[in-house]
């Protein structure tokens, strides 16, 4: 089975198609409990999570509200305690491979250069080397990494490391991109630029993105839809459709609607007692 799938991916890559359709996610009653007995920790749910093919959805909420857990469940990297998740209509039983993952920390291998970190996807999946290298070069160009190919992670800035990490998550053209606070460790100026670069990449390929963040600006600035979560156990308490034109500007305050969306999230957080302003 994996062989068939690899074949399909490499054929698509050889054909130069970069328009693989995004996967759809349908989760019903997803619940996660860690441990058992009196030690058990009910981390998440039950939640329903529906993401359409090619949609950009953010999960926003306070620390420990189960956002990251949700991502791991959707990737099939942790089993759900209860509930079902379907990817493209197929029930999830094990880790899915048509996916790219980016964490807050770049998690690059220190002993590989930037390009070889990205090409790890090719080596482990046994994909066509030339096609993947071309794809990697394209991504490097779009992410402003050209010239950094042969540098080791320690020779790159924090922003560049995270760009390499994004390239690694996309080089094999997955149908889904899962990002867990990918810009959380970056400075505000770098974050605004990388947010835009991610949006441009997404507009081009329309992969399904599940984006986890603490930042209201990032959530509203990037998403088609924002799901607001509260902990614990994590549940989805608000859902906001973001109708702002794309690509969105650096300064989101240009849109009066941005303030309205942001206001709604702040209000939700205040009503939950996450913010205690006097």
């Amino acid at each position: 089975m994996p062989g068939v799938e690899h074949h399909a991916v490499s054929r698509r890559l050889r054909a130069g198609m970069s328009t693989s359709t995004g996967a759809s996610i349908h989760g019903r009653g997803i619940t996660k409990v860690f441990g058992n007995g009196p030690e058990a920790h009910h981390a998440l749910g039950p939640i329903d999570l529906n993401v359409a093919s090619g949609e950009f959805v953010s999960l926003i909420g306070p620390s420990g509200c189960g956002k990251s857990t949700t991502m791991l469940l959707v990737a099939g990297l942790e089993p759900a305690t209860e509930g079902t998740i379907e990817i493209d209509g197929q029930p999830l039983t094990s880790a899915i491979s048509e996916v790219g993952i980016v964490f807050q920390d770049h998690l690059l291998l220190e002993f590989r250069t930037a390009i070889r970190n990205v090409m790890l996807q090719q080596e482990i999946r046994g994909l066509d080397k030339r096609a993947l290298r071309e794809q990697a070069d394209r991504l490097f160009a779009k992410l402003g990494l050209t010239g950094a190919e042969h540098r080791y992670p320690w020779q790159l800035s924090g922003g560049m490391r995270q760009r390499v990490s994004i390239a690694r998550a996309l080089v094999h053209e997955p149908s889904m991109l899962l990002m867990d606070e990918p810009f959380g460790a970056l400075d505000a100026i770098t974050r605004t630029q990388i947010r835009h670069d991610l949006e441009m990449l997404w507009l081009e390929t329309k992969k399904t993105v599940l984006f986890i963040t603490h930042s209201i600006e990032e959530a509203v600035g990037l998403s088609d839809r924002v799901l607001v979560m509260s902990g614990s156990p994590g549940t989805i308490i608000d859902e906001i459709q973001i109708d702002l034109p794309r690509p969105r500007p650096a300064h989101l305050g240009e849109y009066p609607d941005f303030a309205r969306y942001a206001q709604r999230i702040y209000a939700t957080f205040e009503s939950l007692g996450i913010y205690k302003f006097k």
Partner: protein, 271 residues
């Protein structure tokens, strides 16, 4: 114009490089020469007898006149170091991986390993002499024990060092256990294994001399011990210098191997 600038630039950097070399080599050399000169002069002025403290000119001359003897013993010492060290590293690294792979084993063995690592290994010398007699094997075993534990302890931290979230990424790539080992865990542990080996080689040189003092018929330690029984202080000082050269050689080899095998490790930390 551009060519001129480049030419001047490279000439400048070459000049800078040269002055860098001078400060790296010439100053230490000068201070050593000054130290030996003061030594030489003091011994001559106060007329200290040769059997008490030899002059640098005595033991440096001895180094060349007795070169075959000293070189032969230095070679015997080097062979012991290479054998004991290679054996130690070859067993310690896979064993570290095995121990770390089985959590129960790790929990059970770790205190024992820490205890054995702290215990001075030379105290086992007399016991090993009883078991194996006087000969090159005793020195090899002591060198083995000296470098085995630092390599084992550091390799264990190396195999534990990978951020567990990285395994989420490799699993999403569909990596098998073997692939994760080959592409991630083994290369990631390299920096730690080398750290252990660098400590190991220093301890190996220390250990080999002591082992040769107590139970050997060859090697620099043996040569120094025998010279001591003849009150041949000149040869003892020559042996001391030969030992330092051997130690420098093995340390240099380790550093070169690290630079060659791990070009990324020139930076002190991973992040």
């Amino acid at each position: 114009m551009a060519a001129t600038i480049t030419a001047t630039g490279s000439a400048l950097s070459k000049h800078w490089l040269r002055s860098e070399w001078i400060s790296a080599l010439a100053y230490p050399a000068l201070s050593v020469i000054a130290f030996l000169a003061v030594w030489e002069v003091l011994i001559r002025v106060y007329d200290v007898p040769l059997w008490l403290v030899p002059k640098p000119s005595d033991f440096l001359a001895r180094l060349s006149s007795d070169f075959p003897l000293i070189a032969g013993h230095a070679w015997a010492t080097s062979k012991t170091i290479i054998l004991g060290f290679a054996l130690g590293a070859a067993i310690a690294v896979p064993l570290a991986f095995f121990i770390v792979s089985i959590p129960a084993l790790e929990r059970g063995l770790f205190p024992v390993i820490v205890f054995l690592n702290i215990m001075p290994k030379t105290v086992i010398g007399p016991i090993i002499v009883v078991w194996f007699g006087i000969g090159p094997l005793v020195s090899v075993i002591i060198v083995f024990l000296m470098c085995f534990f630092p390599v084992l302890v550091d390799s264990m931290s190396g195999f534990r060092a990978v951020d567990p979230r990285l395994y989420y990424i490799t699993r999403s790539m569909g990596a098998s256990e073997l692939q994760t080992l080959r592409y991630v865990r083994v290369p990631a542990s390299g920096r730690y294994i080398f750290a252990g080996m660098k400590i190991g080689i220093v301890k190996a040189v220390e250990g080999v001399i002591i082992a040769e003092f107590i139970a050997s018929s060859a090697g620099l330690g043996f040569m120094i011990m025998r010279a001591s029984s003849f009150m041949d202080l000149t040869l003892m000082f020559s042996g001391l210098i030969a030992t330092a050269v051997v130690a420098l050689f093995f340390n240099g080899m380790m550093l070169s191997a690290e630079r060659l095998l791990m070009p990324w490790a020139r930076h002190p930390t991973a992040d």
